[in-house]
Assembly symmetry: C2
Homo-oligomer: 144 residues x 2
């Protein structure tokens, strides 16, 4: 029942990473694995724990919006081995800047939406039928 799990089938990796088997094969075609995936005698993919771990990183970075192309570049650097940490760092730092900017943008939006939601709620509570965003009346933005 419990295997050694020195390797994993594509289905197991899918279950562990949340990626679909289709996506896993696609990622491989896009060269974003750090090395060629092993194969069983029968030709099936046999992922190692390292592969799975790398894929977990990929998932995390994708979740924060890193494009596959960047992941591919990063994988290429890792594949080439030590000595290019500076380049890897650049990719990560640039991505970090984007993530921070995205967080700021989202927080701005959150403020706007919360304000809108508040106004709608107040209007509903007051039984007022005069909505915001009434194109015939105009509308004030939040006091920022």
């Amino acid at each position: 029942m419990a295997q050694q799990h020195d390797t994993f089938t594509i289905g197991e990796v899918a279950a562990r990473t949340g990626l679909s088997v289709h996506a896993l094969r696609y990622y491989e075609r896009q060269d974003l694995l750090v090395g060629p995936v092993g194969r069983t005698s029968g030709g099936r993919r046999a992922y190692t724990a390292v592969d799975v771990e790398w894929l977990h990183h990929c998932v995390k970075l994708r979740e924060s919006g890193m494009p596959l192309a960047d992941l591919t570049r990063l994988a290429a650097l890792v594949r080439r081995g030590p000595g290019n940490e500076g380049e890897r760092l650049e990719i990560l730092e640039e991505h970090l800047r984007r993530v921070k900017a995205q967080i700021r943008a989202l927080e701005d939006s959150r403020a706007l939406i919360e304000w809108k939601v508040d106004v709608y709620s107040d209007q509903l509570r007051a039984g007022s039928a005069v909505g915001l965003w009434d194109p015939t009346r105009g509308d004030d933005g939040p006091p920022d």
Copy 2:
């Protein structure tokens, strides 16, 4: 020089909203304006200040990841006039939940990336050639 600006050309609106003129026409086709855009005698679009303001809202909501389809729904509700604030509220609140979740996810990612960046920097500073994500050695994640 300075016009009345009771209306705006599509180019002016593009400049003001950051959307391309193509995108503006596309948005119109997707029915996400709160009313039909006026036209000049010559057939050109003449946006009102209200249109522009609505488009600003759209941009904000898009920036926070609201799909065009939701914007279209919202526009339809606004177009129908007062009386459906509850439905508008639902759309906004659902979006707000997504935005909050997205902020949380991004902050998690930020922590991970910052940690990675730190480790790379340390390694570079130390002159160490042994990189993280060395597929031949395995790699520990951050202590979460």
